[in-house]
């Protein structure tokens, strides 16, 4: 099987002309981290827009009291999918897009440690995303919140397939994420260029490493929770059945033991991006590099010790509440340290006021607000008024949208020239920024007050006469403008593709290795692997001999060939999930068969062929 299988599946073009040339098949079988990064990015942005649409529908419904625009059933699906989509199908893959494209370049490598595993991670994510969203067409999307509390998610209270779509989709996404994280850990540990010690690594690579460790340690907790829930739903076990001695709180603990590190998984890459941009656009090195690195590590560690701050209203008792309040407050310290170091980097610099810096500054500003509301929640007693209200919704969006999305947009404006070889319009970028910044604040700032004035979250409507009307209307209007601001970005991207100026290797005068390659980089990245002697290799004076731009006398390095097996393996897993969803055993077996064929083909196919 293996030999013919390998030859049959290998197919595809070995085009070495351009980084992105070749037809659809070459993209389906690619194992090139740059192409995989592009695919992650495009998929993630698509799902970001989809999650945004879900949000706009939510805001339309909440724009007026007792509105009948959207019924509660649809509303509950919308807010569930909005959260699930934004967390798992937008922000995480958007970060993954950058991990993929940028990290190997930043560490002076030709690809990740396991290129086919990388392709597998992408395809599994992509298929899982389609799987979960297919629910809209087959009986309705999941509707018990992105956090799916037991026992609302039991078959008794959530009959039908909706929650099964959610459980299976998330389990598959977990496999995808863990596989990708394992890949990046090995890549960063083992494929760094000569001379690049850990303390010379770019900050973005550091944050990728830390995030990857968070992923491999946190995801198993939710995997177990999901397995318990799946067993309850499919096999009638009693894990979350209070009548049989089961404890619904076990779900909450398992979910949040994953869930809190998850928010740092969402955040740290953005922190990494901003830590790259600020020094470059200040024309001076990052202030306190080591402290910024250690802060990231500390945040990751402490992130595992704060989960029950999501459960302050559960009645865990004064000891638990005190401990978790304390650890939650503690985590504010390394976070603050990072912010101060960024400001210190700006201080005394010569700020290049271009779009990537605008978004980075917007990030810092909004993140300060989100972080401060976070400190307010950290007080377990005060949180009894805040939890489960719009005050939390405001906090979440200040850190995840005002924070992470602004940072990721900064990354997009910063690195798209490297990825496509063309410049985006700075004018349109700044327009995008201002409209986004203002409308974001109009949307979410009033929500702090809505929460404090008594509006709970996850409610499909609210009664008139409670004072919620004006602020909800303001929030809705803001959200519409916020949505529209994305169109400016899309227009900018389209314009760039048609007639963007060539970017050249290093349009921003960056200091890290990705800026030493052409834009876009050739498919092998570096003909000769670089040697570094400092943290900012392109700024240091002694790098003359270690940077070899594409030297025509050096032959092109051999790169791993394309493979269909990663996609096939991913298809096998999704088929198994579909079989489990519909409880049809034959389909599960077909999935297993496809999976095994994929795994064997992959294992027996040589890396280069």
């Amino acid at each position: 099987m293996s030999a013919t299988g390998a030859r049959a599946a290998e197919g595809g073009s070995h085009s070495h002309e351009g980084t992105y040339s070749g037809g659809l098949w070459s993209w389906i079988t690619t194992v090139d981290h740059k192409r995989i990064g592009v695919m992650y990015g495009l998929s993630a942005f698509f799902f970001f827009l989809m999650g945004g649409l879900e949000a706009l529908l939510i805001r339309l419904q909440l724009g007026s009291p007792e509105s009948t625009l959207i019924d509660p059933d649809l509303y509950n699906q919308l807010f569930t999918m909005h959260g699930t989509t934004m967390v798992f199908l937008a922000i995480m893959p958007l970060s993954a897009a950058f991990f993929n494209f940028i990290v190997p370049l930043q560490i002076g490598a030709r690809d990740v440690a396991f290129p086919r595993l990388n392709a597998f991670s992408f395809w599994l994510f992509f298929l899982a995303a389609l799987f979960m969203n297919a629910s809209f067409l087959f009986g309705g999307a999941p509707d018990a919140g992105w956090f799916g509390y037991a026992n609302l998610t039991s078959t008794q209270y959530s009959p039908g397939m909706r929650i099964d779509f959610w459980v299976l989709g998330l389990m598959v996404l977990g496999v995808s994420s863990i596989a990708a994280a394992l890949n990046f850990i090995v890549t960063i540990i083992n494929l760094r260029a000569e001379g690049m010690t850990f303390m010379r690594m770019p900050l973005f690579t550091w944050m990728t490493l830390i995030t990857s460790f968070l992923l491999v340690i946190a995801f198993p907790a939710i995997t177990v929770g999901l397995v318990l829930l799946m067993f309850d739903r499919m096999f009638g076990t009693l894990f979350f059945n209070p009548l049989a001695g089961g404890d619904v709180l076990l779900w909450q603990h398992l979910f949040w033991i994953f869930g809190h590190p998850e928010v740092y998984i969402l955040l740290l890459p953005g922190l990494g991006v901003v830590s790259e941009i600020i020094p470059v656009f200040s024309r001076k090195p990052l202030f306190g590099y080591a402290f910024v690195v250690y802060s990231g590590i500390l945040i990751a560690f402490l992130g595992f010790g704060v989960w029950a701050h999501h459960m302050f209203a559960v009645g865990l008792g004064p000891v638990a509440n005190t401990v978790f309040s304390a650890t939650t407050m503690l985590i504010a310290i390394p976070t603050g340290v990072k912010i101060f170091n960024w400001i210190a980097t700006l201080w005394g610099g010569s700020l290049k006021m271009w779009t990537p810096l605008y978004f980075s500054l917007g990030f810092i500003s909004m993140f300060i607000i989100g972080g401060l509301s976070g400190v307010m929640h950290a007080s377990a007693a005060a949180d009894l008024q805040q939890t489960d209200t719009y005050f939390i919704v405001a906090h979440i969006h200040y850190v995840l949208f005002g924070g992470v999305m602004f940072a990721l947009f900064a990354g997009m404006y910063y690195w798209i020239p490297k990825i496509t070889g063309r410049m985006l319009s700075d004018r349109l970028g700044k327009l995008h920024f201002w409209i986004m910044l203002v409308s974001f604040n109009v949307t979410f700032f009033p929500q702090h007050f809505l929460g404090l004035h008594g509006m709970p979250r996850r409610t499909f409507t609210y009664e008139s006469g409670l004072g919620f009307e004006a602020m909800n209307l303001m929030s809705t209007v803001g959200s519409m403008v916020l949505g529209a601001s994305m169109l400016i970005f899309l227009w900018n991207v389209l314009r760039m593709l048609r007639k963007g100026e060539p970017a050249g290797a290093n349009p921003w005068e960056g200091s890290t290795l990705e800026w030493s390659t052409a834009s876009p980089p050739p498919h092998y990245n570096f003909k000769v692997l670089p040697t570094v002697h400092s943290r900012d290799p392109l700024w240091a004076e002694d790098t003359g001999d270690s940077m070899h731009p594409d030297d025509p006398s050096v032959p092109e390095p051999h790169m791993p060939g394309p493979s269909f097996f990663p996609l096939l393996t991913a298809i096998g897993i999704i088929v198994m999930a579909a079989g489990a969803l519909t409880t049809t055993l034959p389909v599960v077996f077909v999935g297993v068969g496809v999976l095994l064929f994929g795994v064997y083909g992959w294992a027996l196919q040589p890396l280069e062929h």
């Binding site: 059933d73 304390a326 101060f340 300060i368 005060a382």
Partner: protein, 342 residues
């Protein structure tokens, strides 16, 4: 660098954005009055949390002003100027790092101390004597029992002003959360567990509450009301609640009683003193005297009762109340009976 850049113009263009943002911020706080507001405390519990919050808020504003201020100053002071000198290369300053690690730590300690004090008060059992009320969350209504007073009611809780109330909470189905914002924080209501919340209301009045943990289709429609009244008034109410259902005072109501008892109503509802002893739905013995029906979402009027009885799912999607087809006359009679149950 390849592309020359004009320095950005200071002046009107630069300030519009931030100014707009500021205005939006200011507007965000309007839209009152706010009858369900946590910022309008009316109990000892609520006051404790308010005081704590105000202290934290103060520090948050201080930090906000300092850090945003530093950021804004940095942005304006250090923008690139054409022909300006290259920035001095600095890599760090350990003293600064230590300072700005310790400073936030100090602020956090100042927040942590009142936090911990408050936690140990509110999360400990209530001191001294309390009136115990059991609150049981259902999809999508609240059951209230006063074990020491022999009272069972639903959705409307009445208590004497100035009396410490000890609420024991649990759920009959999924996780809900018990929350009267003006009376303090919320407490989740968890099947298989008993949780607790306690408070003393300081002034008479009507307090609005709402379920605060997503519990399914009609989570947004699971409300409750608390009436704090003079101890004498409360006594009167309690005595009234303890009595069995009122005898119908009119023919219509009597017909309604009959329709009620013979219809499926008794499978779910209790009307003490009659054959209706169902426990799935709210106790209706004194439903006529409640301000609202259907868990705080409809005023207790003839029209609303009719609307509810005719088609509960229309009012509250997913409601478990199953009503057969009823003709108008029957509905009218049952409504009359309900209104009679004071």
């Amino acid at each position: 660098m390849k592309r020359g850049r004009r320095p950005t113009r200071a002046g009107a263009r630069t300030w519009t954005g931030p100014l707009l943002a500021l205005t939006a911020l200011a507007l965000g706080a309007c839209g009152g009055p706010f009858p369900q507001s946590a910022l309008d405390p009316a109990s000892d519990f609520a006051w404790r949390l308010q005081d704590l919050f105000e202290g934290i808020f103060f520090w948050a504003v201080v930090v906000f002003v300092l850090v945003q201020g530093a950021l804004i100053v940095a942005i304006f002071r250090f923008r690139e100027r054409p022909g300006g000198p290259s920035p001095k290369v600095t890599h760090g300053n350990t003293l600064l790092e230590i300072s700005w690690t310790l400073a936030p730590a100090v602020v956090l300690v100042l927040i942590a101390i009142p936090t911990i004090k408050t936690i140990w008060i509110v999360d400990s059992p209530p001191p001294g004597e309390s009136l115990v009320v059991e609150a049981i969350g259902h999809q999508w209504w609240w059951e209230f029992r006063y074990p020491d007073l022999g009272i069972v009611t639903a959705n409307e809780m009445r208590i004497p002003v100035g009396q410490q109330i000890d609420v024991r909470l649990t759920s009959a189905d999924v996780v809900h959360s018990f929350w009267f914002p003006r009376l303090g924080g919320k407490r989740d209501v968890i099947p298989g567990h008993e949780t607790q919340i306690w408070f003393t209301v300081d002034s008479a009045g009507l307090y609005l509450g709402q379920c605060a943990e997503f519990c399914g289709l009609s989570h947004a429609l699971m409300k409750m009301e608390l009436v704090a009244e003079d101890p004498a008034d409360f006594e009167a109410w309690a005595n009234g609640q303890r009595t069995e259902a009122a005898i119908s005072d009119s023919a219509v109501a009597a017909d309604g009683a009959q329709a009620f008892m013979q219809g499926g109503c008794i499978a779910c509802h209790t009307v003490r003193g009659t054959v209706a002893q169902g426990v799935i739905g709210p106790d209706l013995t004194h439903v006529g005297s409640r301000r609202r029906i259907a868990a705080g979402i409809l005023d207790n009027t003839e029209e609303n009762l009719e609307r509810w009885i005719r088609n509960p799912q229309d009012v509250k999607p997913g409601a478990l109340m199953i009503v057969p087809e009823l003709d108008n006359e029957t509905v009218r009679r049952i409504v009359a009976y309900m209104r009679n149950l004071k």
